[in-house]
Symmetry: C2
Subunit: 458 residues, 2 copies
């Protein structure tokens, strides 16, 4: 290593030593009983220093896997006074003998040698990572410090894990991942809330969803496709559930016989992913968030026209959809009636759905419906799905019925002009799943670097 700490006065650095120590370094969680009495190398940042006089000092070291106590004794580490100069959050690497010691966690390292890897160049540290009253806004401003708190980092690990298990399910079932473009020549849906991008003298748009392109893949001869990728919504409002950019999990399947097939695939996917999450993370989720991981099992379905009889009238919107408060009511009802935290709300009115949803059987009062559904989990809408209208002429008619400009949709409509199979699919928000799973109050807590109308940094 070519460390150039020339500008520092402390002589705690030695390139060759650091390089060779890092090659031997192990994760803190891997320091176990079998190491007691032998030499180990650990690295991480200084969380706390306890000064017990000139001859004994304790240092709590933290890495991605956990914490361990480093013990400095003046008879073993001569230069012990330099510990006083170490600022919290300094990254160090230390070599010493592992021992059971007297610390609560039952293991410590008696340090023989250590080096600074990355010093703290400014004081004070802008946020205290364990100060529970720090506002979410301030935590997000200094996210790279905030996430050094393992409890804040854990939801992001769960997010990675949840998408991982969904992927495993897709791969096992012969889904192909598509990588659809985010720079597009036409606004994906209504044209509202879409970001524009100056593009070599023309205008491009940022994709609000991969909807058109996952459907195109089915027209192109793929049978089952998925994508987990960013989508963009120029939504000027601030809610606890929306960002201007978020990760969307989408799949689309050809030759479906109805939207029930799509729901069946989602049910299988979620049971697989939740089972895998439960196996690995149940205890840690309980300890960190006081939440249980319950499998969706057989998810109850409730038709929108039945929902109208359950929810408070003020929670039904003009177009026949329900409000977030209405969604919470439905979730509670299903929980009480069937004991399930998940609920499919199906057969939404045509008025509340986009033009490309296939129409279904009308409600008793004659209201037009769609072969569509939402999935609620603990009161939060996590999915919107449907069978799509794949017949060119019907699709064009529906676009006209909705008052859309056919010319703007030309490229999308073309996909269906030369034959298309029946198809259906859905979009799911992985962050909303993790938000509900961990009981977070705001989707931004479980998003790495959330974006809203006021937030573009860091």
């Amino acid at each position: 290593m070519n460390y150039q700490f020339k500008d520092m006065e402390k002589s705690l650095f030695d390139e060759k030593s650091v390089e060779s120590l890092l090659k031997k370094r192990i994760s803190i969680e891997n320091v176990t009983e079998k190491h007691f009495g032998t030499e180990v190398v650990v690295a991480g940042f200084v969380k706390r220093i306890k000064n017990l006089g000139d001859n004994l000092k304790f240092l709590i070291l933290s890495d991605h896997s956990g914490e361990i106590q480093l013990t400095f004794k003046s008879d073993i580490y001569k230069n012990i006074k330099v510990i006083n100069e170490l600022a919290p959050y300094t990254f160090i690497v230390a070599k010493g003998d592992a021992t059971r010691g007297y610390s609560k966690k039952g293991r410590e390292v008696v340090v023989k040698d250590f080096y600074v890897l990355g010093e703290v160049s400014a004081q004070p540290i802008p946020i205290e990572i364990e100060h529970i009253e720090t506002s979410l806004d301030k935590r997000l401003d200094y996210r790279w410090i905030d996430l050094r708190n393992p409890k804040h980092r854990f939801p992001l690990v769960l997010l990675s894990e949840f998408t991982r298990y969904c992927r495993e399910f897709f791969y096992k079932n012969d889904f192909v991942e598509i990588f659809s473009p985010k720079l597009i020549g036409m606004a994906t849906e209504s044209g509202a809330e879409v970001f524009t991008v100056p593009y070599f003298g023309k205008t491009a748009y940022l994709a609000q969803s991969p909807q058109f392109y996952k459907q195109m893949a089915i027209c192109a001869g793929f049978e089952k496709v998925f994508e987990i990728a960013p989508v963009f919504r120029a939504n000027p409002s601030f809610t606890t559930r929306h960002d201007t950019e978020f990760t969307s999990l989408d799949f689309e399947i050809g030759y479906v016989s109805s939207h029930y097939d799509v729901m069946s695939w989602e049910e299988k996917m979620l049971n697989y992913a939740f089972r895998r999450l439960k196996e690995k993370w149940e205890e840690k989720v309980r300890n960190n968030f006081n939440q249980e991981i319950n499998l969706p099992k057989k998810i109850p379905k409730i038709k929108m026209e039945e929902v109208y009889e359950i929810v408070d009238k003020k929670n039904i919107k003009e177009d026949g959809d329900i409000t977030p408060e209405g969604e919470r009511e439905v979730s509670e009802y299903i929980k009480k009636t069937y004991g399930n935290e998940f609920a499919f709300v199906i057969d939404f009115p045509y008025k509340a759905r986009p033009f490309y949803h296939m129409k279904g059987n009308p409600m008793k009062d004659g209201t037009e419906t769609t072969k569509s559904f939402d999935l609620l989990y603990r009161g939060i809408e996590i999915t919107t799905g449907a069978q799509r209208e794949h017949r060119y002429k019907v699709l064009v008619n529906q676009a006209k019925e909705k008052g859309l400009n056919i010319e703007n949709l030309r490229y999308y409509l073309e996909f269906f002009k030369y034959g298309a199979p029946p198809m259906g699919g859905l979009g799911l928000s992985p962050t909303r799943v993790i938000m509900a799973l961990t009981g977070a109050k705001n989707v931004r807590e479980v998003t790495y670097l959330p974006r809203d109308p006021k937030r573009l940094f860091p």
Copy 2:
């Protein structure tokens, strides 16, 4: 199913029948000997019709998994004359008895009943999927038809498979996937070739790479992170290797002892992914592209200062990097010398690398170098990687040396102000890997919907 084919004159539709048939449908590849003599349901698009008179007609049906012959005999399917009205590319579902038959592939379905799922609404079909002289441009214009040719679709399956196996490797080795924002408040690197986005009265930029945010994750206490996601480059030029948007595979690792650790991780990842690809796709890659899947094994490393002695002087750029032609020369040399299709070119001059690469030992002539590398595969650069400079003061100095505006980089530099561990990582282009693997002449052939300065559609 609520099929509404009222606007069609042909009476080939029956909602209930279609719905119940699709529930029984199996993939064409799954029609095997064990089905002979029994009833099967298959679906797909009409590829070709062979008319052998009024009483016998053959139809080649194609789905994602293969092709099969449907045989229409007038004594079994009474309404046989309607076959004449079926346009190629029409999507249909058919029920009949599977039999060995007389077809070359050794299996066919003698049709008892069939329904149209999606008709062709316009003629002529704009491109012939099997016409080998269709230009790539025209193929891309009608990508949803072009990809009905399985040979054109296959590279996209390989792309999904390659990223799948890289992910498997990451998950097995405790990497966490991050989902970093693509809308950012500062241009990622030099500010050149970056797309701007009007953002609620301010300006946002589209991320050219997740570089800053994967490094931030390491500062935030993650140890190994990866991301496979779109990146954006406002590159006005047209080459066979560049798009304005492409999928980038990135990883970043904390506590590396040098860039050799990063190369070691990449070598392990590629050996894993190529082994898995080879197991599953070797034969099909050979048959379709006349290419072998060779494992990288131990990848030879060559220092840039040695490269200067090998390549033609005209292929060395002013900043000390080499041209694409130079990369081909190096690849050939390594292939000839070591028999390996992969080659790491290491220790690039500091002049040719960004400010955040860590400096290394100087060349014999004193030229400053970086702890950096590129990976070449079959003459194509597929990766750029390095150990990063993680020490705040050194990093600020290097940015100044490069003449960059510190204020523009403020948010990035902040990540290192409160301590950071040594780190290293890389970016890899999965489409370039598949381009080289399949011997494609243009990266756009192996991209689902490529984007260049003139292409935003479909």
